[in-house]
Symmetry: C2
């Protein structure tokens, strides 16, 4: 595609679609899974909530970098775990023109970042996953896909740690599994406080720090850390992570 200085337009002998990125940002507060949404300024869907995102620019090295850039511009989050979710390319997903979007999901510690509105005065806000507002475009569908994806992923990879501080407690970690997998109330194997730590510790890549979390009501829980190196080793051998 080339820029024509006379018409002030980009042109090409071939048709090109518009490409955007959208990010499904999950934030965990120790109890509940939350989602970061942005209130739309302009039409269409003005005033409605939507996923943070925007157009891919020729200067973006990759789509993931574009998604990260947009997210950073709009919300302040930084240095986070991101993974591609897939593309959404339905013919009429945007009424203005043909737009395909590359969706990503991100996992963050919810209260690590002060969320600002975007530069264009759009508001960013956390919503509990279980209680989302009505969403613009096909964003609800993208979110559903993201939820399904992290549900699958958590069986095989320790992605839960991205939702927690470096030092975390066993109940927090367990709450992540419960929040993501959402097992029935009477499901003991995931909700039981005795089995969960046993299973996690046996995997061999969670270490006790020897410290305890203070300043909270009731008994102070132990703090653990994720041992990246031990995980890499055990992954080589071939290990599983299921519930």
């Amino acid at each position: 595609m080339k820029y024509n200085n006379e018409t002030k337009k980009w042109e090409s002998p071939y048709w090109h679609p518009a490409v955007t990125t959208d990010s499904v940002v999950f934030g965990f507060d120790g109890e509940e899974l939350n989602l970061l949404l942005i209130q739309r300024g302009g039409e269409p869907y003005a005033g409605m909530w939507a996923l943070p995102g925007g157009f891919l620019l020729p200067t973006d090295k990759t789509a993931e970098e574009a998604a990260y850039r947009e997210l950073h511009e709009e919300t302040n989050v930084e240095g986070i775990y991101m993974e591609e979710l897939g593309t959404f390319s339905d013919l009429n997903r945007d009424s203005r023109e043909r737009v395909i979007t590359i969706a990503f999901f991100a996992l963050v510690v919810k209260d690590k970042y002060v969320i600002k509105g975007g530069d264009d005065a759009r508001m960013a806000k956390w919503f509990p996953v279980k209680n989302l507002p009505e969403l613009a475009f096909d964003h609800q569908q993208i979110i559903d896909t993201a939820l399904e994806r992290i549900r699958q992923r958590i069986h095989f990879e320790p992605i839960g740690f991205h939702l927690l501080d470096k030092e975390f407690t066993m109940p927090q970690l367990q709450n992540i599994y419960i929040a993501i997998l959402n097992p029935p109330e009477d499901d003991i194997k995931l909700r039981d406080r005795r089995n969960f730590p046993k299973k996690m510790l046996k995997l061999g890549y969670i270490k006790e720090t020897g410290k305890k979390m203070t300043g909270n009501p009731y008994r102070s829980p132990k703090l653990y850390t994720f041992d990246e190196e031990a995980y890499t080793n055990s992954k080589k051998i071939g290990m599983r992570l299921e519930f």
Copy 2:
């Protein structure tokens, strides 16, 4: 993007990238996993092997439909299982202009289709996954991603059946698991002919047909079918499929 009848070009005030689709087509012959490649006609990488694919057109309803259309035009395969793999958007993956590709993987019965060359006289050919030629663009990377994906997927979903005829034998199914997961020679749990059928049959969605496969040397193996309905039911309950 609008078409300008005077300049004969598409134009837009905003930059748009070119978008292609590429398909990683796996074909199973009962023994080995194979990959369908196409020999490139023009530059760049003329004469080299590449994944089947091409540009997204404004008439394609979705990217998946575009990938399917291209595949059908170039190779004859039809009515196949396809799933999105992800996008590849590196700044310099195509030297001509900025091209992002949406990659898919497909699973087919290798000898069910007679592979033709494309309309533009390009040749299509099956290669064993274990012995691929040098590939154009970043296609080797896309293939590696696809292999990793099906390795993950086969633990959770019965995708193996898409690689087999409606009626298949236990050793064929087992060979798929071995070909995809590639366990060490001394790994008994996957390679043992006694444990494998037990595990598969216990899952409850493989039925005996009562028939046997004839016309092959040595003892004739039993034929089984995949019971879609039984699978759908057991999935609701929540079942696993691991090795």
